[in-house]
Structure formats: structure tokens, C-alpha cells
Symmetry: C3
Subunit: 380 residues, 3 copies
């Protein structure tokens, strides 16, 4: 029995778990340094040389690039000479990566091509000093990386098993419409916990997420025992009169995804998605659009919430979708969570805080997430 | 003999005492976590449900409320479910306290009345999960709380003994006119030391506090040995031609306090007050108005100075007192101290700092305060 | 062999050396607390009582003053009573130093002259409580101080040996035209390393420093083995058609320095200078003007770069030199380095960073600087 398990209920974690600097550093290493983390979608790299420098938790940075071979590769964004951050954060197009500090030059496969005054073999072999690769896995268009030393267990088979609907959605054929980052003064695990239960939805999201969502359906799906898995299914069921997760229940994009765009009618209340945890990457799709969330710790009391919005790769803004309408539900829901979680952080500072009782049914997923966290951290 | 005692004089504390993070955390625990701290006045809670969420040092927060029973109670401002900070800082009126996160609901006595999906007794007993009480003591209208596990020694008898004048002032019948918080980049113990000596007054407060104050009288009162007590008398004697602590020596409020408002003539140079330390709460009253100060550490090098101004509960602004005139002396005095103490903090950063000689007579109270600090911290 | 030495090359330091708080504090103590640090020029103190309060790394502050004896002295900027920072940063003129807190008064030789209520000999002897002296050495007009307990090895003989040109320049007869401080979000050792190699100059300073500088000449001077000394020669050779380190290669001040102002023709490409390290003070002079640089750590990831500009003491602005023209090269060069070094700091945060290979020839001085650092820190 772990520290969160009581006789008839479970609790969240002790106070110091949410504010200790040393624990935070260990989390970055043990959790964020080992798991697969979502970074980008293949549609962002149509041609050779298209790249993106992606910032990850713990001050990490990774270059994702359509390589000379035509496949997508990932490298640490670090020059092998003096440790320079090779590319500024954001997207670009390159033939070579040239370090601005001393002009060391790398090709699109990461190979070192030139180091002024130090010809290949004179002091060292160029072959040993290419950009360091980062593990990469692409599943149905979504690109994940891991900066672990050992490659983590393959994601694809696990995701295929729990979310067969993504084959229908053909998520290789998406495009990113918007990416927003919310800064939240809270411990990242409060976002994890919040993400794992909809017990708060009626109080916090009454005028946003709950408008199109079938809240009772979420709880009816919950079972008493939820498996403790790094990869879990997750979806938002729609009310019977809602076609999409939108403020008016209508589709936000008229170009439906995958086979639904070819005449197949989406099942009633259709939603599909998955979650990777405890380092959170969450994907939530309806038949016309979807979002990916990612939670990045910055310090014990500061966290970034990423939100990417996707539509069909052929959808045209102003014709097939209205931008403001597309982002409306999450653009209202995310700040509601941010406000709540900052106040929770303040409360947990108190010496009057003791982890309280949680419902094994309506908060069951949260227990699974915390158990997994404790296992990975070696805390039980 | 403690580390501050030398042959013929005493010193302040070693350099690291004023800048060490670990010591700061222990001070919050051992000193601020154990002593009585002033939070509010009973006049702020005239009716059932009137409450105030008060922020205390160390990120602590406490709800003070006129309860369903009619008395004033205090609770940790923390929901028993997920640790949410139940009330935003400030005053309000409530029938129930409802947590915005999952709608757990508490009554004005702190009792848990409802937890959605978790009926009383199903997983746990509501009786065990009411808001956690905080120790509270009310003395002559002033409300003190302590978040200690054991209730600290009663304040009332100790304060009655050292400040019988407060019976004359009838401080139950005050009202709060103003509350201001000054942010100062200095260690909190420099405020403590500064508060405990008027050796600096002629240099720093020549055009503020010293205008109405009889400075020589302060030193004539000082004796060679001052007792080391948590609760001590403290007052500001007035010059013979001053009626109050005001810039022109005149009363700032025409509605005099207590029996002075009923025709009793204040003694010449009247002043009364007390100080609780080392976690400073200080009260300084004349016959027409008074102030309470409180010193809140925020970090080893950052401190908040609270100042509350009080007049008779029936005094009317614009008729009995002028607001700007009322606050003028302290509104000028406090920033003078803030400036001085920020420069002192900078000086003590130097490796050239060694604690210097202090006068056993004119700085005697300071020695008592530091001795008490060292005793509580177990440093001698 | 130290941790930076490999078979055929050397590297920079491991990742944690550039971000660890504990190491930073030890560096302040062991390096910045022991070495000579440049603070001012004698021309800033023409008359008795002229003083400057100088802020040094680690929150240190020192008063440099033309004393009652007529010589220049240095004291910790700390009142011996309560540790007050006696003088605000910057220059002034004083007959006595009076502490604003309690009016303790010191003369220009640092002697305590008065402490209100505590006459000399009553509790302590004034003679024991003068301002604490700081080691001072003046070499050819440049004033260096050290807050070490033991006086460091004399600078003058060492500087005379490596930079005899300063006798020609007669640097006692300079004046300070400008002092600028750049805030850079990087570890101070990246500035040290950057200062010690010109391998980056062609990429980073193509349109600033490299315009008048003879870059190949720098590398032709480099030898394979550079001595590891605290004091080292350093100069910027000019292109054959450049007279000074200016954007157009012309003199920036028509009043040439020292004997060059009296008709002696400067040698072709003339430059002279020295560097004290690892706590960097660097001086770079041409025949018409010069600069002094100083690098002040503020935290493991924050550093200040000081730049002072000097011309002949008789040069007149608008007549002999144009201010904007005078500062142009370094005012363009310094921000280029700042930008680069902030990106390097970001790169080295990555777990993908490993110290890379450096050229024993073109980066040789950097090896010497890092070796000296490791020796002083006791890391090898």
C-alpha cells in the first residue's frame, strides 16, 4: 500500500511533494528525462531542412528536423564545441546548422562537417562529434522525443491498442492551427491531478467545457479499479445534441477528419484521445478538430501548459473554420484551470494542509496517475 | 553568556543570521509558527458570517470569522479535500464556505456539510474533516492567532499586567481606519532591532516621529537591565506641549478614546502600548488614536511591515478626524525606516561586517529582544 | 593532468560548473575574495575627501578615498556599529563619513571620531573600531583592491614585467570618459573563456572589433604552450592601415597618450594591455585611448561586464575626441558577446552537453585561464 492509500479512500501527496526544490530536480531527471514527450507534428516538416528547436522541461532543447535522408530526426540543440544553443527556439529552414559562436558546421543528419582551424582527424575525428541524437518516435503523425540514455518502450503498439479511433481520424493528415503556452504559478502535479479527474468540471468549467460535454457519461464510464499505465485512453464524450466540442455544439471545422470526411458518420457523442503520464502529454479529438496538451514544469511552483489546436490538413481558415470559434472552448477552459490551480498551490503552503480523502470512483484516474508517479520516483 | 554579550557591551547577530535561507525557514517554524500574531480587530466582524482571510508569514493563511455560535473563530484557510485556499485574501460575508474547486461546503463553525459524490460516512466521517481550527485569543478587542500545535501561554493576563492603560482606552470600541503594508528588502530581524531602540530616532526621524515625541524621556526611562520577556510594555512619550502623536502636536481625532472621551483628562505626555516579540506585533496608542504594527518575514532578505490605524468606533471622517492628518506621522516614519534598513542589509552582506558594540542603556531593549530570539531558536 | 586535458586537445568545464549555486558561492570566496580587483583610477580622486563607494562581486562594497594623509586608502563600506552601508554607491566628497543610522562618525583615515552616547573608552576604545581597511595597490594610476585577509602578491612588478609599454603610455595621466555596466544572463566563466580566445572574433565581431583589428596577427603570436599565470599580457594588434581601435581606423582622440603625445611615433599596429584572472580585470590600450574591463559574477547564471573608457587627462570632448566615436567599437562588441554568451548558457543547461574539443593553439590562453581556475578552486 502506498502513501496515498487509506482504508476506504486515497489522498493526494504530502505537502512537501508540491514545493520541494530537490524533489523537483529529481522529477525532471527521473520522469521528464525518461519518458516520451510530444514535440511537434509531421505536417510542420514538409521538406528537407525544415526544422524546429523545441524547448523541453528542465531547460532542455531539442532540434527536430526533416533530415538529408528524408526522415525526421531529433538532436540535442547543443554545439559539440562549446555547448552553444545552436538554434533559437522556433521553426526554420536550414541546409546546414552553423554555430554562430565559432562556425562549427553540421549537416541535416547531424554530422560535423567543419570546425575552423581543427581539420578532421587532426585533434579528433569529426565522426565522433556530430550532434547528439535524441530518441524519436512518430505515431500517426505525432512526433515524440525522449532525452533518456536508453530508448523508452515503444509507444505505437500501446497507443494503437487503446485508441483504435486514431486510425479512423487519420491524424497524419492534420495541420497545426495554433499553439499557446499558459504560465501557471503552481506545481506541475496539480495539473496532472486536475487533468485526471472531471470531479471539478461542473464547478469550474460550467460555462466552457461542460457546455458540449456529457458530464454524467464520464462518470458512468469510470470503473472502480483503473490500471496504472503510462499510456491510458482518455476522451471527452459529447452531449447527444452536440456534434463537436464547441460552445454551440456545432462542428468548428467543416472539413471532418479521416474517414468522417469521406462520408462515414461519427458515432453519437464521438470523442477519442489518449494520455501519457505522469509527464503529461494529452490528446483529445472530436471528428472535426482536436487538441494536444503538454505540461512542462519550470520550478516547484511554476508550470507551463501547452495547447496545440489541429484541423484537417486541407481545412482553410475563414472557409472551413473560424479561428476564434475553433479555440473558444479550450481558450476559456485553460485559464479556468490556471486560476484554480494557483489557489490550490497557495493553500497547500499552509501547515494546516493534510492530504484529504478522494473518491475511488470519480477520482480513480488520479489515483492511477499518482501511483505511477510514486513508482517512477521510487517513493514506495 | 550568549553570542551577543561582550565584556562591557553587547552586539547584534553574526552576518549569516541575516541572510541564510535555512535559518529563515527555521525561524518561520520555531518563532512565527509558535507565537501569538495579531490579525484583526473585533470591530471588523460585527455580524455572523463576517470573515477575513488573513495572510501570515511563511505563506500561511487563516480565516477569522464571526461563527454561527456568535463568537469569533479561526481556521486554516485550507479545504480538507485537495488543499485549496478556500477564501481569497481580504474580507467578506458568508453563510457557508464553498470550495470553488469541487464544491466541498463548510458551515461557519468550520463543520463539513457536504462533499459531492462522497456522502457522510460512505468513505469517511464528515465530523473528522471540518476546517482545522487555529488557536485564537481576543484581548480588549485585538484578535491574535497561533498556528502552533500546542496553544501558547495566554496573552491576556500578561498584557493586563504591563499595560493597564488599555482598560482606560477601552480598545474594544475602536475601528480600523487604514491598513498599509510596506515591502522592505531587508531581513526581518533588522526591523525587530530597529523597533527596539530609539537611538536612531534623532538621526532618522527628526522630521517625523521626533516632532511630537519627547525623545529624552525615552532614554530616562531606560534601565540598565531589561527583562527578557515575550510580552513587553512600550510607549511613545509626548513632549509637554503635544497632545497626540501628530505633526502639529494637536489631537488628530476629536473623539477621544475610552474614559478620556468622557471627560477624564489624559496625563501629560500620555502614551501606552505593548510589544510581542521576537515575532513582532507592536501597539502604540495615545488618547485619541493608535497604531498596530506587525512584521512579516517573506525571505531572508525581504520583509513586510504592516501598519493599522485606529480611532474611536464613533469617530467620523471629515468631522472628527482628517484622514491624511491621522496617518501623517507613521506614513512618514515607516518609509524612513524602510530606507535605512535596506541599506543596513546591503552593508551586512560585506565580509567586512562584524557585529559591533551596542550601548547597554540606550539599546537595552534590543538586547532583550535578541536574547529572546536566541533562546527560542536554541542558539545558546 | 586536469579534468580539461585530453590526449590531443582540452575541453571547457563540466556542465555543473556553470550552474551550481554552491560552487558560485565558493568562487566568490576563493577567487573574488582573494584576488586584486580593479576599482578606479587615481584621476577620480584629485583632492582630499574625494571618494567613491565601489560595488564588488558577492555583494561587497568598498570605499576608496583620498585620505587626510593625502594618499588613497580603501575601507569596507560598513559602519562598525550596526553594519550599515555607510556610503551609497557612486562618487562624492566628504570631510567625515557620518553613518545616517546612528551618526557614528569616521574621519578620512577611517578613524572613529564619535559614537553618540558611547564616549571613547567607556564601553570600548574608538581606536579598535575604525573602518576596516581593505588592501590597496596602485599601479601606474590604476587602483586595485583586495578584500582578502592576507595581502595578495604585489601586482606592480608583475605588470611592469609583462607590459613595459604602460610606462610609455604614462597611464597616471588619464581620465575616465565613460563607465558602462552590461547585465548578462550567463555564468561568469563563459565571459572569462570568451575573453581568452579570439577564435570567435571573425564570426561574432566581424563588423566591430575585427574592422580595425589584425586578426591573423593574434594567432601568429600564439604559441603552443602558454604559461598559467594570474597576470598575463594581452593586446589587440591593429591592421597596418589602422592607427587606433576605431571603426574607421583613425585616432579617436587627437591627444595621444604619454610619449606618443610628445612626438614619439607609435610602432605599427601598436597595442598594449594586460589581464588579471581568473577574476577578470582586463586592460586594452592603443596610443590614443584605452579600456578596462571587469567581470562581476552576480549568481551562477548572471554576470555584470564593466567597461571603462580612458583618454589623456587633458583631452577635451568635442575638441580632441568625439564621445560616440570613442566608445563605438566596444559599445558594439560588448553586446555581441552578451548575446552569444546568453545562448551558450542555455545550451549548457542541456543533458546533451559534454565539454567539447578545443584547439591547443588558437584557444590556448583559455586553457591557461581554466587551469588557473581549477588550481585556485582546488579542483585538481
Amino acid at each position: 500500500m502506498s502513501i496515498i492509500d487509506k482504508d476506504k479512500y486515497f489522498t493526494n501527496l504530502p505537502r512537501d511533494f508540491y514545493r520541494c526544490e530537490e524533489r523537483y530536480r529529481r522529477e525532471i531527471d527521473v520522469i521528464y528525462g525518461r519518458q516520451w514527450i510530444y514535440v511537434a507534428h509531421i505536417s510542420e516538416f514538409p521538406e528537407k531542412g525544415d526544422y524546429r528547436a523545441c524547448e523541453l522541461p528542465g531547460g532542455e532543447s531539442v532540434i527536430v528536423v526533416r533530415s538529408a535522408d528524408g526522415d525526421i530526426k531529433a538532436f540535442f540543440n547543443v554545439c559539440r564545441h562549446r555547448g552553444f544553443s545552436l538554434c533559437e527556439p522556433g521553426a526554420g529552414k536550414a541546409k546546414l546548422f552553423v554555430c554562430p559562436y565559432h562556425k562549427w558546421t553540421y549537416d541535416l543528419n547531424g554530422g560535423l562537417r567543419g570546425a575552423p582551424s581543427m581539420p578532421n582527424g587532426k585533434y579528433f575525428d569529426y565522426a565522433d562529434h556530430g550532434l547528439k541524437p535524441v530518441h524519436i518516435e512518430i505515431w500517426r503523425g505525432f512526433i515524440f522525443v525522449s532525452s533518456a540514455s536508453e530508448v523508452p518502450e515503444e509507444l505505437g503498439p500501446r497507443l494503437d491498442k487503446i485508441t483504435p479511433e486514431f486510425a479512423q481520424l487519420e491524424t497524419e493528415h492534420l495541420k497545426v492551427v495554433h499553439h499557446k503556452v499558459y504560465e501557471i504559478e503552481t506545481n506541475w502535479k496539480f495539473l496532472l491531478e486536475n487533468y485526471l479527474e472531471c470531479y471539478h468540471c461542473s464547478a469550474v468549467h460550467a460555462n466552457s467545457l461542460c457546455v458540449p460535454m456529457d458530464l454524467p457519461a464520464i462518470f458512468s464510464d469510470v470503473i472502480d479499479s483503473i490500471e496504472v499505465n503510462e499510456v491510458a485512453p482518455m476522451w471527452i464524450p459529447l452531449k447527444s445534441d452536440s456534434k463537436s466540442l464547441s460552445m454551440d455544439g456545432e462542428f468548428v471545422s467543416s472539413k471532418l477528419l479521416g474517414e468522417f470526411g469521406r462520408g462515414v458518420t461519427p458515432p453519437g457523442g464521438f470523442g477519442a484521445g489518449f494520455m501519457i503520464m505522469p509527464a503529461v502529454t494529452g490528446a483529445l479529438f472530436q471528428s472535426d478538430y482536436g487538441v494536444v496538451h503538454r505540461i512542462d514544469p519550470v520550478s516547484p511552483t511554476r508550470t507551463l501548459l501547452h495547447n496545440w489546436w489541429f484541423v484537417h490538413e486541407d481545412a482553410v481558415e475563414g472557409v472551413d473554420y473560424d479561428f476564434d470559434n475553433l479555440i473558444a472552448v479550450w481558450e476559456k477552459t485553460n485559464p479556468e484551470d490556471a486560476y484554480i490551480l494557483e489557489r490550490q498551490q497557495r493553500g497547500v503552503q499552509s501547515r494546516g494542509f493534510t492530504p484529504g480523502p478522494h473518491d475511488m470512483r470519480v477520482e480513480a484516474s488520479m489515483r492511477a496517475g499518482l501511483e505511477l508517479y510514486l513508482q517512477m520516483m521510487g517513493d514506495e
